[in-house]
C-alpha cells in the first residue's frame, strides 16, 4: 500500500485505534486535513481555539484512560496548544499532539507561521519529535503513543513539516506492530524486598495514614487501593488528583488533604506514625511546610517515577513500580499473613480521627439567604446521584467541588491540579461527553475561568455534547479575592470583574439553554431541569455569595496542624 505522508498519519491513527482527534486546520496541516476528509474512521472535532483542543483531548484521556490526540497547525496553532500541553504534563496525562511545521527546506528561515515548537515545548512534554523523513513517520507515531501511555504517562508532541505530507510523494506504508526504545524501559514491577519491608511496617503501624494521589487513577489501581485500605482498616486521604480513587462514601475516607483539605486529614497527617504514599508526589499544596511534614512518620512511597521519590520529602521505604502491581503484591503478602496485622492500636487511632471529624470542618452557613456555593455542589451531587463526570476550572469553585462532590469512582473528577489552568473545564467536559455520551457531565466553573475558553460553547453545539455548566458566579476571581482578604488586608487588587456578559443570553446566542439562579430555593429545581434537558447544553449561572471563602485553609508555607477554620468552626482544643 503506497500512501502520502498525510495519509500515513491518518492511517497510523486508525491503526492505533484512535476514535477522536481534536484540532484546528491551518496552512501547514492542509495535506493532513485533506487525508482526514477522505475517511470517517477517525472523527475530527473542530474546536474554536487550539487550547480548547488540548484540554478536550485531555478530558477525554482522563475519563477513558486512553491517549488524547490533537492536530494543530504550525506557529500560532502550535503555541496556542502549549498551555494545554503543559496542563497535561503536570498531571501526567497521555496526549499525542501533532503539529504542522513549515516545509523542511525553509525551517530556520523565519518562514510564515514558523515557530520552533519542539524547542518551545521541550520542558513541558514527556518527549517530542521533529520528523525529518517521511519514511520515519509511522515509526515515530508508534513511538509517540508508546511513550505517552507507558511508565509515568505524559504528552508527546510530533512536529511534521508540510513537505513530508506532500500528496505527490507516496511511499509504502506499514504500521509497526511493536516498538522498542533502548533508552526507555519503564519499570513496572516493584522490588520484592522493598515491598516486604513496607508490609512489615504497615502491619505494626499504630497511627497509619494512606495518602494516595493521581497515580492510583492513572494506573487504574483504585480497586487495589480500596481492597488494601479495607483489609488493613486504615484511614485514606486523597490528593486533589486522587479523588475517586478511594470511595468518598467509605467511612475510612477522611477527605482531601493539603491546603484546602479537611481538618481530620491534615491532623492525621501531622500525627501519623506510618504514612503510605501511593502514586502521589508530595506537591507543595499537599505538604505545606516541608520541615514540619509528618514529623513523626516513617514514610513508604510507591511511584512509577523514580524522580518523584525523595524529591521534596525524604522517604524511608521507596518502591519504584506500577502502583497497581505493587499494591497487588502488598495485598498478597498481607493476606499470606507472615506478619500479623496489629489491630488494637488502629482502634485508638480511629477514635482520635473521629474526634477530629466531629469538628465538622466543612460546615457553612446553610441558613443564609444568599446562594452558598457549597450548597450548589451538594445539590449537584444529589441530583446526579453522585455519578456524574465533573470537570472544573481553577479557583474556589474547584476546591468546593473537590470538597463537596463525594466521588466514589476514579476518572469522574477531572481538573487541572498541577498547572492550575483556568479555562480547562469546558473543553475537558466536551472531551468527556464525547467519550461517554450517555453519562451526566457537569463543568463546575466560575465567571472568571469560564471566560478563558468560552468559545468552546460553539464546539459543544456543533458536536451535540450536552454538558451542564455550573457557573458559581460571585463576580470575583474568588481565590485571588480570598488571598487578598486574608493576606493583603482586603485590598482587592484587580480581582473584581466589573463587566460581565449576560451569561444567559450568551448561552442562548451559542444555541444553548441559559438559566440564572439567584435564590437558594431555586438551586435544586434548576439543576434538575438542566439534567432533564438531556440533549441540551445548559449554562446555569448561579449568583453566589461573593464573600464566601474556602475553608479549611493552610496558608502557603504553614504546617498541617496550622489551619484556618471557617467562622463558627472551632478546633478540638482538648485533644490538640
Amino acid at each position: 500500500m503506497e500512501l502520502s505522508g498525510g495519509e500515513i498519519l491518518v492511517q497510523c491513527l486508525k491503526d492505533e485505534g484512535v476514535e477522536y482527534i481534536f484540532g484546528y486546520p491551518g496552512g501547514a496541516v492542509l495535506h493532513i486535513y485533506d487525508a482526514l476528509f477522505k475517511q470517517d474512521a477517525v472523527k475530527h472535532i473542530l474546536v474554536r481555539h487550539e487550547q480548547g483542543a488540548t484540554h478536550a483531548a485531555d478530558g477525554y484521556a482522563r475519563a477513558t484512560g486512553k491517549p488524547g490526540v490533537v492536530l494543530v497547525t504550525s506557529g500560532p496553532g502550535a503555541t496556542n496548544a502549549v498551555t494545554g500541553i503543559a496542563t497535561a504534563y503536570m498531571d501526567s496525562i497521555p496526549l499525542v499532539v501533532f503539529t504542522g511545521q513549515v516545509p523542511l527546506p525553509v525551517i530556520g528561515s523565519d518562514a510564515f507561521q514558523e515557530a520552533d515548537i519542539v524547542g518551545i515545548t521541550r520542558p513541558c512534554v514527556k518527549h517530542n519529535f521533529l520528523v525529518k523523513d517521511v519514511t520515519k513517520l509511522a515509526e515515530t507515531v508508534k513511538k509517540a503513543f508508546y511513550i505517552a501511555t507507558t511508565g509515568r504517562p505524559g504528552p508527546v508532541l510530533v512536529d511534521i513539516p508540510k513537505s513530508l505530507t506532500d500528496p505527490a510523494i507516496r511511499i509504502p506504508y506499514e504500521y509497526p506492530q511493536s516498538v522498542s526504545i533502548r533508552s526507555y524501559n519503564p519499570s513496572v514491577k516493584g522490588h520484592r524486598w522493598q515491598i516486604r519491608k513496607a508490609v512489615d511496617l504497615l502491619a505494626t503501624a499504630r497511627r497509619p495514614v494512606i495518602y494516595s494521589g493521581g497515580g492510583v487513577v492513572l494506573s487504574n489501581a483504585a480497586e487495589g487501593l480500596t481492597e488494601l485500605a479495607r483489609f488493613l482498616d486504615f484511614p485514606v486521604t486523597n490528593t486533589l488528583m486522587g479523588l475517586g480513587a478511594f470511595p468518598a462514601s467509605d467511612r475510612r475516607f477522611i477527605g482531601m488533604l493539603g491546603m484546602h483539605g479537611t481538618y481530620e486529614a491534615n491532623m492525621a497527617m501531622h500525627d501519623c506514625d506510618v504514612l503510605l504514599a501511593v502514586g502521589a508526589r508530595f506537591d507543595d499544596r499537599v505538604t505545606g511546610k516541608i520541615s514540619e511534614f509528618c514529623p513523626t512518620a516513617k514514610i513508604i512511597h510507591i511511584d512509577v517515577d523514580p524522580a518523584s521519590i525523595s524529591k521534596t520529602v525524604r522517604v524511608d521505604i521507596p518502591i519504584v513500580g506500577d502502583v497497581g502491581q505493587v499494591l497487588a503484591d502488598m495485598l498478597e503478602m498481607l493476606k499470606a499473613g507472615d506478619k500479623a496485622v496489629q489491630r488494637e492500636a488502629p482502634a485508638a487511632w480511629w477514635e482520635q480521627i473521629d474526634r477530629w471529624r466531629s469538628v465538622q470542618c466543612l460546615n457553612y452557613d446553610s441558613a443564609s439567604d444568599k446562594i452558598k456555593p457549597q450548597y450548589v455542589i451538594e445539590q449537584l451531587w444529589q441530583v446526579t446521584r453522585g455519578d456524574a463526570y465533573v470537570t472544573s476550572d481553577v479557583g474556589q469553585h474547584q476546591m468546593w467541588a473537590a470538597q463537596f462532590y463525594k466521588f466514589d469512582r476514579p476518572r469522574r473528577w477531572i481538573n487541572s491540579g498541577g498547572l492550575g489552568t483556568m479555562g480547562f473545564g469546558l473543553p475537558a467536559a466536551i472531551g468527556v461527553k464525547l467519550a461517554f455520551p450517555e453519562a451526566d457531565v457537569a463543568c463546575v466553573t466560575g465567571e472568571a475561568s469560564i471566560q478563558m475558553c468560552i468559545q468552546e460553547l460553539a464546539t459543544a453545539l456543533q458536536y451535540r455534547t450536552p454538558v451542564k455548566i455550573v457557573n458559581l458566579n460571585n463576580g470575583y476571581m474568588g481565590m485571588v479575592r480570598q488571598w487578598q482578604e486574608f493576606l493583603y488586608e482586603s485590598r482587592y487588587s484587580h480581582s473584581y470583574l466589573e463587566t460581565l456578559p449576560d451569561f444567559v443570553k450568551l448561552a442562548e446566542s451559542y444555541g444553548h439553554v441559559g438559566l440564572r439562579i439567584s435564590k437558594p430555593a431555586e438551586v435544586r429545581g434548576a439543576l434538575e431541569e438542566a439534567f432533564r434537558l438531556r440533549d441540551r447544553t445548559v449554562f446555569l449561572d448561579f449568583l453566589t455569595d461573593p464573600t464566601e471563602n474556602v475553608y479549611p485553609m493552610i496558608e502557603a508555607g504553614k504546617a498541617h496542624h496550622d489551619m484556618r477554620l471557617a467562622p463558627g468552626v472551632s478546633p478540638d482544643t482538648e485533644l490538640a
Partner: protein
C-alpha cells in the same frame, strides 16, 4: 560537592538541549559540559560537571535518566576514576618570560604549540586543579587568552559506561 556525571545519549539533534534545558529549568548548576560522538556513531558521550548536595545530585541523576534520549549514565566521581581536561593558553613570552614559561610548561608536562616573537601557545592537560595551578603559576597578568575543554573522565579498571 563536585560530581562528574558521564552520560551516554542518543546522538540526535536536540539531545544536548534537553540536558542543558533540564539544568536551567530546575535550577541545577553546570560547571562544565562536554559532548562528542562515541565509536558507535548513534551515541554521544557527555561529561557533565555539577555542584550540589547529595539530595540535589540524586535528583539530577534521576531527572537525567528520565529523559527519553538518555541511554545510560553514571556518576564517575563516586568511584575511582580519571579526570582530564585540555587547556590551551596564549601567554605573553617576552624577555625573561620566554625561558620562565618554557620551564613551567616542562614542569606541568605541557607542550608549546605555537611560538611568535612575543607569544607562546601552551597546551596543558590534567585535572581541573592542575590547570588552575598552571594559570596561577604563570600569573594572570602574563596570560592573553585561555581556552579550556571542560572535564572528561573515565572509570578505572573493568567497570565502565557502555551498552
Amino acid at each position: 560537592m563536585r560530581h562528574i556525571i558521564s552520560i551516554l545519549i542518543e546522538n540526535e539533534s536536540g539531545a544536548l538541549s534537553r540536558v542543558a534545558g533540564l539544568f536551567s529549568a530546575r535550577g541545577y548548576n553546570i560547571e562544565s559540559l562536554t559532548v562528542a560522538p562515541t565509536q558507535d556513531p548513534s551515541l554521544s558521550r557527555m561529561t557533565l560537571v555539577t555542584l550540589g548536595s547529595d539530595d540535589i545530585i540524586e535528583q539530577i541523576t534521576k531527572q537525567l535518566n528520565k529523559l527519553i534520549d538518555v541511554v545510560k549514565l553514571i556518576d564517575i566521581s563516586e568511584s575511582s576514576h580519571i579526570e582530564r581536561e585540555l587547556m590551551l593558553v596564549k601567554v605573553r613570552a617576552v624577555n625573561g618570560l620566554r625561558e620562565e614559561v618554557k620551564r613551567l610548561t616542562d614542569i606541568f608536562r605541557g607542550n608549546i604549540l605555537d611560538v611568535t616573537a612575543s607569544t607562546y601557545v601552551v597546551e596543558v592537560t590534567g585535572e581541573k586543579s592542575k590547570l588552575d595551578a598552571f594559570i596561577q603559576t604563570v600569573g594572570e597578568d602574563n596570560i592573553i587568552e585561555v581556552v579550556r575543554s571542560g572535564a572528561t573522565g573515565i572509570l578505572r579498571g573493568e567497570r565502565g559506561l557502555s551498552l
